[in-house]
Structures are given as structure tokens and as C-alpha cells.
């Protein structure tokens, strides 16, 4: 028996200024079985929706107004008013160059998917954020998922296990 994802239990917020892109992502998610999928065309509406609560996954474009998708991510991870600082975030953006990937990662993105994307690529990111949750790291200057993906053998004390003072 293999693992399955029941998308009907996952509530998505999609943020993209492009109406067609919002609709396409929503259609894909609903085809997968999602029943609770909300869209927002700018970052302020997204923040209002997030504040109202009821979302499990945020999918956002970087290129948003008035705040960028990166600022939206930063707000979610660090702001006192954030509804869930550990919410999985997929940055789905046409800002596809490596510097954007690195910057997103350093702000605590869970997954990055460059546009133009493929259906397969989208599905893999969804599986990753839902079925392969990562621990979070809180350190000065960073709050987000553990950025180390590779599980390499390490000899010596695991200092990551230290508790805060």
C-alpha cells in the first residue's frame, strides 16, 4: 500500500497578480481534490486573508504589490501578527534566477518553483511541503525551515540540539 495525499484536507492561499495564473493554479489544485482554495491578487489582500486564518499552505509569486512576495514571506515568518510562522510557503515566481532562489531560501521559503513550471514540478513541490515536513530553525537573522536538505553522516556532537537559554 502506498502513501496518498488527500488534498481535500489542505487549505491553500494562492497569491499572484495575474488572474489567469491564479485560476490555473486553483484549477490544478481542485483537480487534485482540493476543496478550499482562495486567491488574492495583491499582498495586502493576502495578509488580510492570512490574518483571518484558515490556511495550511501559501503559494505566492514574488512580483507583488504593494509588498513583494518576499516581504510577504518575511511577514509570515517574523511578524508578531503572523497567524502561523511555520506555514509552508511555495514561492512560484518568474524571478527564476539563482539569486532569487537564494534570497527566498534565506527568508525561510519552504519550496521554490520557477515559472514557467511544469505540472510535474508543481506536484513534487506540493508533495514536499505536505508529506515531507521539515523542522524549523530559529537563529539570529533567520527563522524558517532547516535549509540543509542532505542527510550526511557527521561525527561529533550535534549542536543543533541545544535548547535556548
Amino acid at each position: 500500500m502506498s502513501e496518498k495525499i488527500d488534498f481535500s484536507h489542505v487549505r491553500f492561499l494562492i497569491v499572484d497578480s495575474n488572474r489567469l495564473m491564479c485560476q490555473l493554479i486553483k484549477d490544478i489544485l481542485m483537480m487534485l481534490g482540493c476543496t478550499q482554495c482562495t486567491t488574492a491578487r495583491d499582498s495586502e489582500k493576502a495578509i488580510a486573508s492570512l490574518r483571518a486564518g484558515g490556511f495550511d499552505v501559501l503559494i505566492t509569486e514574488w512580483n507583488l504589490k504593494p509588498r513583494s512576495g518576499l516581504e510577504l514571506l518575511d511577514w509570515l515568518r517574523t511578524d508578531g501578527g503572523s497567524p502561523d510562522r511555520m506555514m509552508p510557503v511555495i514561492m512560484l515566481t518568474a524571478n527564476s534566477e539563482v539569486e532569487y532562489v537564494m534570497e527566498s531560501r534565506d527568508k525561510g521559503v519552504t519550496e521554490f518553483l520557477a515559472k514557467p513550471f511544469t505540472a510535474d514540478g508543481m506536484y513534487r513541490r506540493l508533495v514536499s511541503v505536505i508529506a515531507r515536513p521539515r523542522d524549523f530553525v530559529s537563529v539570529r537573522g533567520y527563522f524558517g525551515p532547516d535549509r540543509r536538505r542532505q542527510q550526511l553522516p557527521f561525527e561529533g556532537p550535534d549542536r543543533r540540539q541545544q535548547k535556548p537559554d
Binding site: 502513501e3 496518498k4 489542505v10 512580483n63 511555520m86 515559472k115 508529506a131 515536513p133 549542536r159 543543533r160
Partner: protein, 169 residues
């Protein structure tokens, strides 16, 4: 002194809610579901092309404005940059990688600009014309003779505006 990192174990609530062995989609994407997803994208392809045509019309109008109203150039630049970004992100999704490539070329060209002088307007115009050709011919591939010709003419246009490039007398 280095600050200590605190590891916060993931609560796994979402996984508990959604992952099971009975209902839903297989974690490994099966062919049938992939086909359905691709069909959804294909269904929106015509709409994408219609919207791209409208976008390109808007860019031509904006260029006309930039030519006659120097004060509007910054606003026009912002508008073109935004449209180029959208086409760059969408083209390949809907099976038009050449639209993505050429829109990226336009977006990259505009990235550092703060104004649109006449030469720059001309280069934007060549981009818009080239994007039109892709849309009107419904060019889905990226490796044919026409594609190579379009790519070469666009590159020549962009090279014209590079600092240090002298135009022929």
C-alpha cells in the same frame, strides 16, 4: 560569540491531516493524473494567447505614448517591465517557450533602465514585434529555422544598445 540555533520540530499537523493510505492522490504522480493536469493547462492555452495579444497591443500603445510624451516614459517603462515579466512566466507554462525566452530578453533589457530613450524604445518595439510573430504563428517549439531567425534578429537589436556599441553612420 555565535548565537545558538534553536531547532523547532515540525508539528507534522498538515501531514497527519492529509497523508494516509486510503484516499487521495498517490504521492508518486501517476501518468493519468499528470495527463489531466497537462490537459487543464492546455485548456487555458487559447485564453493565454488572447490575453497575450491584448498585452502586446497595450505595449504598442504604450510605446506610442512614450514617443510623444516624454514625461510618461517612466510609467511606460514600468508597464512594459510588468507585462514582460508576466509573459516570461506564462509562455513556457502554456507550451510557448519562445515567448518566455523573448519576454525574458525584454525584461532583462529593461531591468536596469530608468528611462526609455529613442533607441531603447526601438529595441522594445522589436521585442514586441517578435513576440507577435510567435503568437500569430502559434510557434510552440524553440529550435526551428524561423525561431533561429527571430532569435538572431532580437540579439542583434539588443546588441545595438549595449554600451560601447557604435551604430553605422
Amino acid at each position: 560569540m555565535r548565537s545558538k540555533a534553536q531547532i523547532i520540530p515540525n508539528r507534522g499537523e498538515l501531514k497527519r491531516k492529509a497523508v494516509n493510505y486510503k484516499t487521495g492522490m498517490d504521492i508518486k504522480l501517476d501518468e493519468a493524473t499528470l495527463k489531466k493536469m497537462e490537459q487543464l493547462v492546455e485548456n487555458s492555452s487559447a485564453q493565454f494567447l488572447d490575453e497575450t495579444v491584448e498585452s502586446l497591443k497595450g505595449l504598442r500603445e504604450a510605446l506610442g505614448r512614450a514617443a510623444t510624451e516624454p514625461a510618461a516614459r517612466r510609467e511606460v517603462l514600468e508597464h512594459i517591465r510588468e507585462e514582460a515579466f508576466q509573459i516570461k512566466g506564462m509562455g513556457g507554462v502554456f507550451g510557448y517557450p519562445l515567448l518566455t525566452e523573448f519576454a525574458k530578453s525584454l525584461h532583462d533589457f529593461l531591468k536596469e533602465l530608468e528611462d526609455l530613450d529613442e533607441l531603447q524604445q526601438e529595441i522594445v518595439s522589436i521585442h514586441v514585434d517578435t513576440l507577435y510573430v510567435v503568437v500569430s504563428h502559434r510557434i510552440k517549439g524553440s529550435g526551428g529555422a524561423l525561431e533561429a531567425q527571430l532569435r538572431a534578429s532580437l540579439k542583434a537589436a539588443v546588441d545595438k544598445a549595449k554600451p560601447g556599441t557604435k551604430t553605422a553612420p
